[in-house]
Symmetry: C2
Subunit: 208 residues, 2 copies
């Protein structure tokens, strides 16, 4: 299925498909409202008339970038979730690959984040996020429960926790930066998610 057809009027030539990616930084820096078509033309090297030859308008260019980002995440995280291993190992891989994706796709990821909060979006971000991000997590949790590597009473809550933790950590990384490597953060996050932060009425608690 050629999903880009909903945002582009016609298939994009290869070099134009490459260059349009440069629009992501402009949108991320300015937001849809303050981004001018002239800005996009300058940043991408694609003349205005050519942009309108391929896209119905500014918002469709943004939608194209978001759809493409969701597809990339779907491919990446499905692959990470599908590699052999216990549910726990797959979950660890998902958390790490997701944070690495965020680290490597800062502008487009912030666009996705902003768009999730916007009702009038041309892209069904919520559906895309469910497919690309939450389904692999859910699968790993379910399989982990089955293979004994995880203990999950409430898969829905656990899915929200894992995704939420990655999202906030990723956004902090993008907005604030950090000396900690994303891989280290992934390990720390997963450690706390697995161990929990509760205490049980036991004389001594062993570290796992």
């Amino acid at each position: 299925m050629n999903q880009q057809s909903t945002n582009a009027i016609r298939p994009l030539p290869d070099d134009l498909a490459e260059r349009i990616d440069l629009a992501a930084q402009v949108f991320a820096d300015n937001g849809l409202d303050a981004t001018r078509i002239e800005h996009l033309a300058k940043a991408t090297g694609i003349p205005r008339a050519t942009l309108y030859y391929y896209f119905p308008g500014k918002e469709h260019i943004l939608a194209h970038l978001l759809s493409r980002t969701l597809r990339q995440m779907t491919v990446k995280l499905s692959a990470a979730g599908a590699e052999p291993g216990t549910g726990r190992e797959r979950l660890a891989r998902l958390v790490r690959e997701h944070l690495v994706f965020i680290g490597g796709h800062g502008p487009t990821y912030r666009l996705l984040f902003a768009e999730l909060g916007r009702a009038a979006s041309l892209v069904d971000i919520a559906a895309g996020v469910d497919l690309a991000i939450m389904s692999p997590i859910r699968e790993a949790l379910r399989d982990g429960q089955r293979d004994g590597s995880l203990h999950v009473d409430d898969i829905g809550a656990a899915t929200s926790i894992v995704y939420g933790a990655v999202l906030i950590t990723g956004m902090q990384h993008l907005l604030i930066g950090s000396d900690r490597q994303l891989e280290d953060r992934a390990t720390a996050l997963l450690g706390v998610i697995l161990s929990g932060i509760g205490t049980t009425p036991k004389p001594r608690r062993g570290r796992s």
Copy 2:
């Protein structure tokens, strides 16, 4: 400190301050770009010229709404976190009050979410979120570690996990809806966060 002065040109009369809140739904439904001043005038009952008498422009009206929402959250969550109790009890209260806030402030909460992803915002949302949301969580975790009601090795990671879980759960509630009460979701979330989802090499794991 009158924080609204950075977004309003002059203090707002009481009835105007009330009516401007109605703009939140318009912004949430349409986004900044597609929201027209005329839309805002219609929804709030405040004429265009009056809006410009009090605000420098459309974006400042949005900024006003966001700042006010952050202040409300700061008040609400600081209070929830400051009530007497163990760290664990305060954390439970914070999670519940936060979700309840989301339930009662859908439009403005989605605006905050969208704005966090937008670089060109007039409001330092990241700073506002840290003050309003993450600080109370951090405090509760720290105190829980001290009073023995919680066991937290990595407070930064745990803070991201708690806030992220609430955020995703709240957004799901807003976007998808649910039959589950927010209070129930809060309880479920906290349960999983406290227990963790890992397994430890023990013959039997007690439920807490």
